[in-house]
Symmetry: C2
């Protein structure tokens, strides 16, 4: 771990703790194929950004990290459940560089593994209440988990319902990303703050912070999709282009690219058999049109808003770590 | 309603109340296609046996029916969620005589509608706590909902994992039915009794009653699959035969049918293009082998066990209604 940045070291430490917890929560599941299918995506790795956010939100209100761990595990289970089902719906073959659950175990077990992971979210949250958490607060956590999940379903349905990016405005995009990504980020901060005994105000404030950070995170994800390399992405570069995905970059290009740049974009956008050369030319066009810079600018605005929310939270190392987390995933150059 | 039996009248009244509640709980869901997909199966009807069981368990411990209604709606949402997903997994085209959700709205929205229904289970249970229910009791309800769902997932996985009925013993069948059907019946009785302020003992006793009743119900469902008509079933008669389903009847026949009867059975069992005549001949063979009578006998044993559990519950009209419910669905000749 010698070359890791401090935030990367902290994420790795946190991930080890959360992974151990998750493996225990899912171990011994019968019948075996269901157990394996539910663990498949979790074992494929991931940075565990959401559990880290949960733990740090707990510490930021003066709580102990260990009290947040069950909820941190619960949000990762919720995240996994949505990814497993999304991959079935989108017929995606790869996730985190590995074959998706339905590719390995078939569609029926993938649906079922997602359902089980969803139930486990509640199971883990209910069975491991931090000592001293009043029952009404646990109910509030369960309620927020439920609200977030309903919003996630809505976001995914919006994504499915827009047939193509040309029908999607920037506002639609922000609404969709809010529902698909920010709702879960907000949940992490809320249940983290609740598990740490934060005030209602702190729960809301950290929730707002995480919502805005989530939007920035998703936009940066779009940016990485055309600027990072395949090993980092765990999927081919430019697949968002080839698949005609509704990213902020593509929406901007559809509204602003003209002439030669538009031609290059159209040769790759939504074209299943576009060559790697077509993709590279389209990425160049995106740069020239300013679509990538535009997306980065919007992400920066959301980071500024997120940090502003944190002004209302006392200065602590945890608050600095929350900021470092956002800076890490918005400015990531890995 | 002049020709309805008393239990049928009561079920119909209860269904009206529950349906109104469910429609309100799911109304206004955005985006519209998701809202429609989630309501599709609920609007297709059904007797609402499970909500009735919930309400009557509440009354049987001295509670007020209205206090059980949110939980009665929640168990029906849970039932719907599992049916919508099961139909996707099993590629079934018909349910309650209507096209399944994925047939009408496509696989992605069907998965999503199931997920939303699942989240709504918790939403409805959390947002409508009966006045005076202590928070710890609500947590107990949420915990039992979660436990039951994990068991349902396990049951469905067992069903998927057994490749064919010849590998399934009667004990395997009972285990699978317990997990797939009885776990939900038990949940109904448990949350009903909890919402009515029942003692821990009463919650357990009514849970045991409902577990055994659930096994009897499922076996009777197998029997109806070969003895009822298509209008009653909402699917073709004998489709359990044609599809090679692991019903108690088929398991018995595989172990006991020989000679001519076995030949007739084999001509229909698991044979996708079996003619209606083949099916009818196979059903005759099942009768001659005694497989249908055997299944009915096992169902009766479970009814006896279920009724025995009720001995520990005070005599009330609700207790009689619980018995009448079981008699209705085990001896149904509709």
């Amino acid at each position: 771990m010698a070359n890791l940045k401090p935030i990367e070291q902290k994420l790795a430490e946190n991930a080890r703790m959360i992974n151990g917890y998750l493996e225990r929560a899912l171990s011994g599941q019968e019948p075996e194929p269901l157990g394996k299918a539910s663990l498949h995506l979790i074992e494929a790795g991931g940075k565990r950004l959401r559990p880290y956010l949960t733990v740090k939100a707990c510490e930021a209100v003066g709580g102990r990290a260990e009290d947040a761990v069950p909820f941190a595990a619960a949000v990762e289970l919720l995240h996994s459940f949505t990814l497993v089902h999304d991959d079935v719906m989108d017929h995606d073959d790869l996730r985190r560089g590995k074959p998706t659950v339905h590719k390995v175990y078939g569609m029926p077990l993938a649906i079922l593994a997602g359902d089980l992971l969803f139930a486990k979210v509640y199971d883990v949250a209910l069975k491991n209440r931090p000592p001293g958490m009043p029952p009404e607060r646990l109910i509030e956590c369960i309620d927020k988990i439920t609200e977030a999940t309903m919003t996630l379903c809505q976001g995914q349905a919006l994504d499915i319902s827009f047939p193509c990016a040309s029908d999607v405005s920037v506002d639609d995009y922000i609404e969709m990303v809010g529902a698909k990504t920010s709702a879960l980020f907000r949940l992490c901060a809320q249940v983290g703050a609740l598990s740490g005994g934060g005030s209602d105000n702190q729960v809301d404030t950290l929730g707002s912070f995480a919502w805005d950070a989530g939007v920035a995170f998703q936009i940066e994800d779009d940016v990485l999709g055309v600027t990072a390399d395949e090993a980092t992405l765990g999927k081919p570069v430019g697949s968002d282009l080839r698949e005609g995905k509704k990213t902020l970059i593509n929406i901007h290009a559809l509204e602003n690219a003209t002439g030669e740049q538009r031609k290059l974009f159209d040769k790759a956008y939504g074209v299943e058999d576009a060559s790697q050369k077509d993709i590279e030319a389209a990425v160049e066009a995106l740069k020239e049109v300013g679509s990538i810079a535009y997306a980065r600018g919007v992400a920066d605005e959301y980071v500024t808003r997120a940090f502003k929310s944190l002004d209302a939270i006392p200065d602590t190392p945890a608050k600095d770590e929350l900021k470092a987390l956002v800076e890490y995933f918005v400015k990531r150059e890995y």
